[in-house]
């Protein structure tokens, strides 16, 4: 029997639905998450199923969304707070960085801050400078947070369910371009542990570490390269904190070559951290300098050609892999 195929956005909604049905402490809050079903359709049907008490539509008040979610978590609930886009998490950075991330530490380890902050991330659909950014490195830089960024519907469901059950705050970033993509997703309950990378394609010649929208482009690039006789291994860390550096190191030990690709800006991106970790721990295994594929340090423009120019594409990955041969 063919496996059930659903979209990324349906996988998100299914994960939330299952966890809300399983645990009455779990609830959802955010802008437009109710009647509309989310600005990207990722919470469709939940309001109708669970009602306004557990699917809470908020005004455009990002500091209140995160602050209320934190207070609710401290008093025993398990909120899922949606900030529509990662770009607007800048509006509630005090709540995320100074409050949510530090509350367990600054309270003598007493309250459990079991909450998930979901947001759409990355560009590629012409939404421009304030609706297309990738800030995963900002959150990875803050101890106390976990950061997850799934690239497939299967990963999205399993990781979101695990994030909701986690005892810590989890930043859960959903690449906007991927909402409409489909893939096999079991209808039953399953969890993917945070901090476990997935090898999306095995290969012996070069390792590509890649997450988010670029995973699909990397897989296409891998096919192109395979046709030319280069077998790349595509490793998707899926969660960036905790980071499964062991799987990455193992892969590099096998291939001797590493390309790290992300849509976020190059400077101080998570790719820089991974490159540093690999050279610290597997320097002797490297046969070439580590290459990064990332956005140059520019502001993301709306024009389709301009946006395509600044965001990393499949061909950039192909070039990078060839450059480390």
């Amino acid at each position: 029997m063919a496996q059930r195929q659903i979209s990324y956005r349906e996988a998100i909604a299914e994960a939330i639905r299952e966890e809300m049905a399983r645990d009455e402490k779990v609830f959802l809050m955010g802008e437009d998450v109710g009647v509309l079903g989310g600005a990207f359709g990722a919470t469709k049907g939940l309001f109708q199923e669970f009602g306004e008490d557990r699917v809470r539509e908020t005004p455009i008040s990002e500091t209140a969304i995160i602050g209320f979610a934190l207070g609710a978590a401290m008093a025993g609930m398990r909120p899922i707070a949606e900030i529509m886009r990662v770009d607007w998490m800048t509006i509630c950075m005090d709540e995320i960085v100074n409050q949510v991330a530090k509350m367990h530490y600054l309270s003598g380890g007493r309250p459990r801050v079991a909450m998930v902050i979901r947001a759409a991330t990355e560009g590629g659909i012409g939404l421009g400078a304030q609706h297309s950014q990738s800030f995963e490195s900002w959150f990875v830089h803050v101890p106390g947070l976990k950061v997850v960024m799934p690239s497939t519907p299967y990963d999205a469901k399993g990781l979101l369910k695990a994030a909701i059950r986690d005892s810590n705050p989890v930043i859960f970033l959903e690449p906007g371009v991927l909402y409409g993509t489909s893939g096999p997703v079991p209808a039953e309950d399953y969890l993917i542990p945070l901090g476990k990378a997935d090898i999306k394609r095995e290969g012996k010649d070069t390792t590509i570490v890649v997450w988010g929208t670029l995973v699909l482009k990397a897989l296409n690039a891998a096919q192109t390269l395979a046709n030319e006789g280069i077998e790349v291994e595509v490793v998707d860390p899926r969660s960036l904190r905790p980071l499964d550096i062991e799987t990455i190191i193992e892969s590099v030990k096998k291939t001797g070559r590493l390309v790290v690709a992300h849509e976020a800006m190059r400077t101080c991106g998570v790719g820089a951290e991974i490159a540093a970790l690999v050279q610290e721990r597997a320097f002797d295994y490297l046969d070439a300098p580590i290459q990064r594929v990332a956005a140059p340090d520019v502001i993301i423009p709306v024009n389709r050609n301009l946006e395509r120019t600044v965001l990393p594409q499949e061909e950039h990955i192909v070039e990078a892999v060839k450059s480390v041969r």
């Binding site: 609830f27 008490d53 557990r54 809470r56 908020t58 005004p59 008040s61 990002e62 500091t63 209140a64 995160i66 602050g67 209320f68 979610a69 934190l70 207070g71 609710a72 978590a73 401290m74 008093a75 025993g76 609930m77 909120p79 005090d94 709540e95 100074n98 409050q99 509350m103 367990h104 530490y105 600054l106 309270s107 003598g108 380890g109 007493r110 309250p111 459990r112 801050v113 079991a114 101890p143 106390g144 976990k146 986690d166 005892s167 810590n168």
Partner: protein
């Protein structure tokens, strides 16, 4: 509810206890026992005690950077609080948080906050959890006149009102946001008037009158517990000391205050002095009784200091505890 003689004397004792703590901690700060800084609330004791006296045992508290008085009024252990202000291993966060991060989860004190206005939304969320779990509690949220100008005040009170959460917002208007007089920072100095914008009851009370604060907060707490939603109370008091203990040691640190203003408040609006006169007028209190209360509170503080000073320093490895919660708790 009418306050009995015992209630009133209990409130007086709690105010004296806070004053003794704040005077004493200032002294120990000068002795070098307080790392960093701390913010004392001398002049604001009636707000802390009046508001906290309106709570039931299981009601929550969220507070600010100037919160020694709030947590003491809620019954936090004095030795543990002194130890935390001294950043010792026996403090409530083992010396990680210090003066601005006081909590006692067994007493529903969910924490104080180093970010001005940082607690307003959190308190709304605590109220939401109470409402969703139907536990019939109330959350009291202290903040200051400075925080009233943060965006969190607007977002938090609006959402709290929309969702009718059982959170009572008490603004201690101590008339200064660090060096900025309230009239320079608030276009309308009546912060309670902003309640209209959120369709909330708003009330301005004399924050040097502990009974007036109690009555206003009690009525707001009762309303919240009946499920009728949040309220905003502004208690107008005066910060008799500088912004922080550290800043008070710097030359010229009170340059922003008009000459004679502090002396005038000390003379005429010291909440302890006012309440003492009132209790004496009711024949509830004599000077001798007052001296005894003060001596007992001083002794309690001195014992707490002894505990803190003899407590161990946190171990270096403890810096790494509690960054993440363990699973399965």
């Amino acid at each position: 509810m009418r306050l009995s003689k015992e209630d009133l004397l209990g409130m007086y004792r709690r105010m004296v206890r806070i004053r003794q703590f704040e005077e004493g901690i200032t002294y120990h700060s000068l002795q070098g026992h307080v790392p960093g800084t701390g913010h004392v609330s001398i002049g604001e004791e009636a707000v802390a005690v009046g508001a906290c006296s309106a709570l039931e045992e299981r009601d929550y508290l969220i507070s600010t950077h100037r919160a020694h008085g709030h947590v003491l009024a809620r019954g936090a252990s004095m030795p543990v609080i002194v130890a935390e202000v001294f950043a010792k291993a026996t403090g409530c966060t083992g010396g990680k948080g210090g003066s601005m991060h006081l909590s006692d989860f067994d007493r529903y004190i969910l924490g104080t906050n180093g970010i001005v206005g940082g607690g307003i939304n959190i308190a709304g969320g605590v109220g939401l959890a109470i409402k969703m779990q139907k536990t019939n509690q109330v959350c009291l949220c202290f903040f200051g006149d400075g925080a009233a100008n943060r965006g969190t005040f607007h977002e938090g009170l609006n959402l709290a009102s929309l969702w009718k959460v059982p959170t009572v917002y008490v603004c201690t208007n101590n008339q200064y946001a660090l060096s900025m007089p309230q009239g320079k920072g608030c276009a309308n100095i009546d912060i309670s008037a902003r309640a209209v914008a959120y369709d909330l009851p708003g009330q301005r009370v004399d924050g040097t009158d502990v009974v007036a604060v109690y009555e206003a907060v009690k009525s707001a707490v009762d309303r919240a517990r009946r499920g009728e939603g949040p309220s905003l109370i502004e208690a107008v008091a005066y910060r008799l000391r500088g912004h922080s203990m550290r800043m008070d040691t710097m030359p010229g640190s009170s340059a922003y205050r008009p000459k004679g203003e502090v002396e005038d408040w000390w003379q005429n609006k010291d909440p302890l002095k006012i309440f003492k006169q009132k209790l004496k007028g009711l024949d509830y209190l004599t000077d001798k009784m007052a001296d005894k209360i003060e001596a007992e509170c001083k002794q309690e503080f001195d014992e707490a200091v002894k505990f803190a000073l003899t407590s161990p320093e946190p171990s270096p490895e403890s810096a790494f505890d509690w960054i993440y919660a363990e699973e399965g708790r």
